[in-house]
């Protein structure tokens, strides 16, 4: 019902061209979200694993990481915006950093938890067998933290899509920076009170998030549950 109404509402007031435009914008934002996940994983997974493998460090750092994860990232946005203006960084790239400010912690958080969940005897065995470097990551750590990482990545991805609305358009004083993407599209439509565009933008974002869940995350979950189950 809702879907029929949305399609009807959007097509009568905006037309197919606008739909294709938002689709392209969504692809751009998807690209940002993906890049964010990859970079955040590359940075925070090794750090999370290092923390998780040391029980005392993990105990000490866990509350800090939890605090960072729950800290409202948009408090930092004005300072980041100022930095982007000063150093002439395009928000097309800078928005990725802004989106990451709130969502990257889920990757770290879950990497720590995942590393802690790898049984001691498996780690001991890996050490005794002389596993080191990439082999250790490939055969012990990555499969071991995989299901935790999937959980973290899903949360981070959801957070990043949400954050795109406030990250792809930011202001400092009278200067406004804008990135091309679905987030800024929605933000702009909202400022203008343009109901058809708000509806289209949010519908497109929902479509992408749900579609990604179906196509990617659920499959990864299944893989985690069957193949990489500890």
């Amino acid at each position: 019902m809702l879907l029929v109404w949305i399609v009807h509402f959007v097509s009568t007031s905006l037309g197919l061209g606008e739909v294709l435009k938002t689709f392209a914008l969504a692809l751009l934002t998807l690209l940002r979200v993906s890049l964010l996940l990859v970079v955040a994983s590359l940075i925070w997974t090794p750090i999370g694993v290092a923390i998780g493998f040391q029980p005392r460090l993990a105990r000490a750092l866990q509350p800090i990481v939890q605090f960072l994860a729950s800290f409202p990232a948009n408090f930092v946005f004005p300072f980041a915006t100022l930095l982007f203006i000063r150093s002439h960084i395009s928000l097309d790239w800078g928005s990725i950093l802004l989106m990451a400010l709130g969502s990257q912690w889920y990757i770290l958080f879950n990497s720590i938890a995942g590393a802690q969940r790898i049984p001691t005897d498996l780690r001991e065995m890996a050490a005794a067998m002389g596993l080191h470097g990439w082999q250790r990551w490939r055969q012990l750590i990555i499969p071991g933290i995989f299901s935790a990482w999937v959980t973290g990545a899903i949360t981070a991805s959801g957070g990043a899509w949400n954050a795109s609305i406030v990250s792809e358009i930011v202001s400092w004083g009278s200067t406004t920076l804008q990135a091309t993407g679905l987030g800024s599209y929605i933000a702009e439509a909202t400022t203008q009170g343009d109901w058809p565009r708000i509806t289209l933008g949010i519908a497109m974002m929902s479509l992408f998030v749900v579609g990604l869940n179906r196509l990617l995350w659920q499959r990864l979950y299944q893989l985690a549950e069957t193949r990489y189950h500890l």
Binding site: D121, E124, M129, G130, L140
Partner: protein
Amino acid sequence: MSDLIRVQHLFKRFPRPDGKSEFTVLKDVNLSIHAGEVVALLGRSGSGKSTLLRIMAGLIPPSEGQVLSQGQPLRGVNQNVAMVFQSFALLPWLTVQENVELGLEARGIPKTERQQRSLKAIDMVGLDGFESAYPKEISGGMKQRVGFARALVLEPQVLLMDEPFSALDVLTAENLRGEIDDLWNAKAFPAQSILIVTHNIEEAVFLADRVVILGSNPGRIRGEVAIDLPRPHDRQHPRFAALVDYIYTVMTNPDIEVTGTVAEKTLPPSPYAQALPHARVGGISGLLELLAERSGGSEDLPRLAERLSLSVDDLLPFLEATVLLGFADVAGGDIRLTDIGRDFATTTILRSKDIFRQQALSRVPVFHSILQTLQEKQNRSMRSEFFLDLWDEHFPHAEAARQFATAVDWGRYAELFEYDADEDRLYLPEPIPIS
């Protein structure tokens, strides 16, 4: 003999949870593992035996003292050993073969050689055909076989085993333990020595040439016992029992000095070890009555068999029974009634029961033992299974059941005890027979 691993004045202390003080897990441990021997580290929980094993494997550093591997001070993981874990420690996302190849890959062995060696090791532990199975698809016993293959494929100098059989059910453990022992005894073992950590005394005596006994709180070496038995160690050997007894005594008395000199103990043979001939009482008395009719109470054995239209083999249990009960003697191919036998064969049924009872109690120890067990019980009865278990220790199960059936037949006739087949129990009749 060269030392493959030598532990010198080793101490291990761990910080207490409060972070201020430490507790000592291992205190001044000195130990050498020589080539060609199986050593068992035997200790109760808290003796630090697993910690000692891990220090020798280079997985955790000692607090004081040192470990020499091939004469060189150990730094980091010991490359000359391989370890078998109590929990198997298989990576669930790798196949059997991939798990076995882990250590080879870490040592940079090329793929083709890796495959060759891992398949050979998998074959050796009897997992042929399971190369591509995942750990969750195979049983606990098979998982530990993978654990063994993964360690043995490295051809380590010393195979370290941390309670390798204790996570398995009794039968599976027994089976795998036997196979590892067979591999070792066949001189085809891919390691020069074995060091096994265990809390199971029998396991230690069965597998090891030398049992090192650890004391608890703090963990320290109390002494060692040489297992001076030919390999494979025969559990039925009286010396085996004496060694187990000695170690058991030492383990339950933390203050006894472990001298390792185990006195030869002559255990009285179990009454259940003596086989009863499978002859029913009716057959025994029939035979005796037949003999009593002969002049002099004696008969040539083949002739006797012919008269009874039995083969000598079939006659044999009856002969054995009459001899066992002291009713007859067999000599020079003849069987001859004894005085008691003649009495038994010719008197009234009531008196013959008395005679049979007397003979059974005085000449067949198992009846005395059963009677004693029943008399010690408040309800004067006992489950058959209890006795069957005792026979099971000395006979295959089917034979144990036959032994039980024969004992019941004799015991019922002698009115020593009754057997209730419905409840499967033996019980004493009223009044108590006078023995």
